[in-house]
Symmetry: C2
Subunit: 216 residues, 2 copies
């Protein structure tokens, strides 16, 4: 009776599956959205359940009716995030035109900073703290994907299809440049004026940068 719809498939640790009532689905979504807002700006320890509850317009015990713990909410957010975090890089196509592929990857990452800045900050917070909760993801999934794509990039370099560049630093540079617009948005806003869109001009600049960097 503690957790709703407790079925065999919903053991703790197993992501909750199966059908949920409309109220369940709606409130879980509201809670996750509120929690994303709070966790992404205050970090895990800095966030309180009361803050999240207030942001969600629900009572604190009510949150804990839908999620087992503060940690469970955070874990859920991270899990959903990581599921899609790799997609842009995964789409880098070995059969495509090298420059266009890299440019498209950069554009996809920039879009993520524009459309999901809170997710980016949640991730940044996690890395800053030493990535304690996603270490396995980085060491396994992310590492494997980066290694694979770095080899692809290295191949393009050696074939003279792009300039000879260190493929790892090329990937890191795309992460750094695109995520900066989400993670440091507060700073950029204060410098350029808060009404100014932080990403204004970013795409043109980054296209210019990578066009010049990659030209063979």
């Amino acid at each position: 009776m503690r957790a709703p719809r407790k079925t065999a498939a919903e053991k703790p640790g197993t992501p909750a599956r199966g059908p949920r009532s409309r109220i369940q689905q709606r409130n879980r979504q509201i809670i996750l959205d509120a929690a994303l807002e709070v966790f992404s700006t205050h970090g895990f320890r800095g966030a309180t359940l009361d803050q999240i509850a207030s942001e969600a317009g629900l009572s604190k015990p009510n949150l804990l009716y839908y999620f087992d713990s503060k940690d469970a909410i955070h874990r859920d957010l991270l899990t959903r995030l990581l599921d899609t975090w790799l997609d842009p890089l995964r789409m880098l196509d070995a059969d495509g035109e090298p420059q266009a592929e890299i440019m498209a990857y950069m554009r996809r990452k920039l879009e993520m900073s524009r459309d999901y800045p809170r997710e980016s900050r949640l991730f940044a917070n996690e890395i800053l703290q030493g990535a304690p909760r996603i270490e396995h993801f980085i060491r396994n999934d992310l590492r494997a994907l980066v290694t694979e794509k770095a080899q692809l990039l290295a191949g393009w370099s050696q074939a003279g299809r792009i300039a000879p560049v260190d493929p790892y630093h090329l990937i890191f540079s795309i992460w750094a440049l695109t995520q900066h617009y989400a993670d440091f948005a507060a700073q950029i806003g204060m410098i350029r004026g808060d009404s100014h869109d932080p990403l204004d001009g970013a795409e043109v600049f980054l296209e210019q940068l990578y066009t010049r960097l990659l030209a063979p």
Copy 2:
């Protein structure tokens, strides 16, 4: 008797000045160093006085003999950091050779990521949270400096001495690319292997990048 050497010059808010005993100087330094370690990885809320005390090898009440509060330690760290945070950009010389000046600025920032990664992460944490404690610094000091240097860069662009680039995004790109190696060091380490120096190859890559970007 609560605070040591309480003189008129040491009102709260005023940075403590005047002579301090050797023990004072030594222990304040030890505390600040321990606090930097803890704050930079766990953030302000995530850090506890017990953690800092343990890291410093002192008792918790002893910390509070040297600093009025947890907040005061954090404020002290930030103040010291901001004092030097602007220096690399400030040194960008209007009378120098444009490309060499920008390259030297990039190198100075990269050096800071190498030599002071904890300070970089402390700063990053603060910005992620919306920069509540350093808003005035960013809106005033940093904003003025960036505006000034952006005009300098714009002048160089218009004079054809460097390629025509958006000066603000040029500055942001240097921040993003250099600070990434400090702020996301954990991720880089997990991908490239923890024994590998995260900054290995970074300087060469960034020189290549900015050489190609800035060539008129």
